[in-house]
Every structure is written in C-alpha cells, then in structure tokens.
C-alpha cells in the first residue's frame, strides 16, 4: 500500500474485447498444477492418503499373509488386491469429498466462482489431481505387494485390459460420488470424520480389510451395493491366479457385473453431482 499510482487503470470495455479470456483448457491445466503442488506440500495429507493403505497392508499382510487361502492363493495376495481397490477409493472418493467440502466451507469455492474461471476448469483440475494421486497410490501398493506378498504383475494382455477398465471405471465412479458426498459435511472441521467413518466401514464390508468370503453374508450384501466390493473383485481377477476365482461368491470373476455396477455408479454420481453441487456453504 505505497502511495504511488498503479501503472494502468481499469480501462474501458472496448479495450478488453481485444484480449480474449484464457481458454478453459489452459485454466484446467493451471488448476491441476496448483492442486498437485499444494497437495504434495501438505505433508499430513500425503502421509494420510499414501501412508495409511500401505501401513495397513503391511500390518494385515504380516499378521495373516503367510496363510494359504486355498486354490494356490495367499491371503497376502488377497489383501493386496483389495487394498489397491481401497487405495483407489481413498485418493478419489475420500480425498475429493474432504477436499471439496473444506474448500466450500472455507470460502475457496465461492471465491473461485466469483472469478472468470469456468466450472469445467475447476473440475478438470480435480481430475488431474485425482489421476496423479491415484496412479501414485496404485503403483505404491503394487510395489508393496510385490515386495512382501508374492504379488506378480500380470503377463497376459487381457489382464492388463481388465486392470485398465476397472481402474478407470472405479476411480471415475468414486470421484463422482466423492464430489457428491462433499455436500454432506456442514463444516471444514467435520469433513474428515464425516467422510472417513463410512469409508472405513465400507472397506470392511467390501472385503478390503477382511477377505470377502470371511465377511458375514448380510454385510457382504450391503457391500455389494457399493462400487468398492466390485473394484476389489476386479483387482483380484487381475492379480490372483486364475483358480482364485473359485473363492469368489459366484465362483467366477463376474466381469460383466463389475462393469455394470461401476457404470451405474458413474451415472448416479454424475446425476447427484449436477443436482447437489453448490459453490457456497449453507452457513
């Protein structure tokens, strides 16, 4: 606040017409870059998002991992495949829901909506951020599984294809439901518990923390409504030996049903987002 004058005044609207608005693509890239930069500087968030699934995998794997589940599958492999699905959901659903709720309640969303940035650029930034985190998380968990629990990278192209579509459909379904879920917490302080508690329960009933065939039937039925159970099943079909399919409730990997459930959640998430998304806090 020095006493000198600024170099150029606001000018007239005719001056402005000559300078086009920055493109949505460029702004989306700028949003993505700043989101990723801010995320990796937030040491607590990084430790939470990447550390927790890896630590849980090492703990669970070390306690139960040497047991053979049956059909040439080790419990460590079951846990790793499930935890990869849980990791995808944590970097898409959990992180987005908490992050957007916090941005809404601290006024950051309102501030952005008061600038010329188009909403598509904001969401494009989130997509970039979620992709970077989800890929990193998956690589990390696969590495832990390979290092400690005899996880093997698939050799058949068909399995890589399965991996690709489960990964893409799963993270899309979780990201969209995460954006929708961001409207549930009423304050920035409550965002983490409000989102994390149901997510933790979901990981139990979906066979992430416990092999799915050890989950009580009614719990498994609840889990089957949500995407995570199907993502975990898809990841098992990628990383477990073929005969492991016998451990699944249906006795097969049910690829068609996995794709169907995830597609339904993508559509439902998209509808929920467009119906419920708000740029301002209700308070």
């Amino acid at each position: 606040m020095t006493e000198r004058t600024a170099t150029v005044g606001p000018g007239t609207s005719t001056d402005r017409a000559a300078v086009p608005l920055p493109s949505a693509w460029r702004l989306g890239a700028a949003r993505g870059a700043i989101e990723v930069k801010a995320f990796f500087r937030d040491k607590m968030a990084v430790a939470f998002i990447f550390g927790l699934p890896s630590i849980l995998l090492i703990l669970l794997g070390s306690i139960f991992g040497s047991q053979a589940a049956a059909h040439g599958v080790t419990v460590g492999q079951l846990f790793t495949a499930g935890m990869i699905a849980g990791g995808i959901m944590s970097t898409s659903f959990q992180y987005l829901a908490i992050g957007i709720a916090t941005e809404r309640e601290t006024g950051m969303l309102k501030r952005l909506s008061g600038t010329p940035i188009p909403p598509t650029a904001y969401f494009a930034g989130k997509v970039v951020q979620v992709m970077v985190c989800t890929v990193s998380e998956t690589v990390l968990l696969v590495a832990v599984g390979m290092l400690f629990y005899h996880l093997h990278l698939p050799t058949q192209p068909g399995r890589w294809w399965t991996f690709a579509w489960v990964f893409v459909l799963g993270s899309a379904a979780c990201a969209l439901t995460g954006i929708a879920a961001s409207s549930v917490p009423r304050s920035a302080a409550s965002a983490t518990p409000v989102i994390t508690l149901p997510f933790t329960v979901l990981q139990f009933v979906s066979g992430v923390y416990v092999p799915f065939n050890d989950v009580p039937r009614w719990m498994g039925d609840v889990g089957s409504v949500f995407p995570l159970k199907w993502m975990a099943q898809g990841m098992r079909s990628v990383f477990l030996p073929e005969q492991g399919a016998a451990l699944e409730p249906a006795g097969t990997w049910e690829h068609g049903r996995i794709a169907l459930v995830l597609a339904v959640w993508i559509v439902a998430g998209l509808v929920l987002c467009t119906k419920t998304f708000r740029w301002q806090s209700r308070n």
């Binding site: 004058t5 600024a6 606001p10 300078v19 086009p20 608005l21 700028a30 010329p116």
Partner: protein, 302 residues
Amino acid sequence: MDSGAAVMVRGLRKSYRDVTAVAGIDLEINRGEVFALLGPNGAGKTTTVEILEGFRRRDQGTVSVLGHDPGRASRASRASRASRASRAWRARIGIVLQLASTGPELTVLEMVSHFAGFYPRPRRPEEAIDLVGLTAKAGSRISKLSGGQTRRLDVALGIVGRPELLFLDEPTTGFDPEARRQFWQLIRTLRGDGTTILLTTHYLDEAEALADRIAVIAAGRIVAEGDPGTLGGRSEAAARVSWDAPRGERTTVETSTPTRTVTELAREFDGEVPGLTVTRPTLEDIYLDLIAAPENIGGEQP
C-alpha cells in the same frame, strides 16, 4: 449495452421463506465513484451486495451491473453462450471475500499469480501484492499469515484482475489503525485509476473518509442516500449551542441559526461566553437516528 451507471438497481426484493431481507431497493452507482453502503447487521446489506455479485438470485426487480444482469451469472453454466458472457462480465468485476486462514499450501505470490491467470488483462502479481503492502510476505505460505495479512491477500486477489468495479465487503474489519490508513490510501489509488468501488462497512469514519456517496440501509430499505456532508439532512440539521449560564447550569439550545445565537450570547455576556461550544451532528449521530427508526421513514427515497 453499457449504460452510463456502473450499477443500476430498481425495485429489488428478496425474501428467505417468510423473512424479507430486501424490501424494494433502488440504487444507482456512477462510474468512477466510491459508494458506501452502511447499515446494521441484518439490514439487507450483504444480501444486496451478493445479488449484485451474482452469488444470489433475486425475487423481483431489475439489476444491471456494468450493463450485465448478474442473475444470469448464477445459472450461466447451462448454456455456453451465456457462460462466455458471464465469464467476460466476471473478468470486469473484482470481489474481495474473506478467506479462511487455512488456505491451500501455497505462498502469497503463488496464489496471486494463479488468480492473475484467470483474467485477460491482469495486473502483474507483484504489483497487486505491493499495492496491498504484502511484498515482504510474498514468499510466505498463506497458512503462516496473520489475520490482517490474510485480509490484505484477500484484497490483492480482488484487484489482481484489474477490475472496473470492485466489491469490498467490510474490508478493514480486523485491521490495526495504521493498516486501515494504508488501506484507505489504496482505495484512493484505485479510485484515481477510475475503478468504481462499492464498499460496505461498519465504520462511519471510513465511509466519511472514502465515499463520494453513502446509502444507509435499514430493515431492507434505503433510508437515506447522499454525500457524506449532507446525508440525512446533516448540513441543514440544527446545530447545538451550549454554554455555562451565570448561575452555573449548562444550557443548550438547538438552532438553525447558530451564528445569530452566538452573536446574541456575546452581547449578553459582553465578551467571552463561558464554556461555549457549537456542534453539528456527526455522521454517526445522523446514522444512529436513521437506523433507530426506519419505520418512521418508511423506505421513502430522499
């Protein structure tokens, strides 16, 4: 397309369920003017400003802000043509909002540079930071700023797009006296560049120091409007002449001709009048009268 006035409001109404927040407001803010909206909490100040900013829908009335209806901005994402028009409009206004102190893990310079990138013709980020006096903190994380520094950052983010019209909602709340004076200087600098400024404030001295015109809002209506010197009949209001009468008691008369009263007193006392004071109502006196009885004034426009 662009009419002369920066802001034109006619018959604006807004209710929340059965509570009337804005009960028929007319406003006209000229280009290049600093306009202050004064009023107690709950008077409809924030609702009015948020409608002008395109953050809130109105129930009734016509609103034009830089020739654009801000009501279209709030549902602009539906059609790309409307969206482009509303983006172009947003590029011409600046809004100073209060950011929570827990921002993203970015430095002041990174944040201001990021926002500068949203606009077609922004200020240099360093210039915006310098204008608000945060140059020494440009490399600091937002989370490490003090309350007053965070407010300065809010202002930098509001002006970095070089707005034609700037909305300032209680900008100096939490500033120390020196920071307020520096901030006032910034407002004068922006005004000198031709920026139109709509300011809401609780501080009457701030409105008096900065505003070309003031409107007082109470119970959803404008109860007075004018320049700081004449608002609410201030210039014609009766002056109070007080003195110590010979028997010792303090005497006060209200008069529209204080000079004559003083001349008579001087003759009466044959020289110095003991304890003589002549006062006119301060802006604060006028304001408190105006908001105390809005129903008496009944929303009549001055």
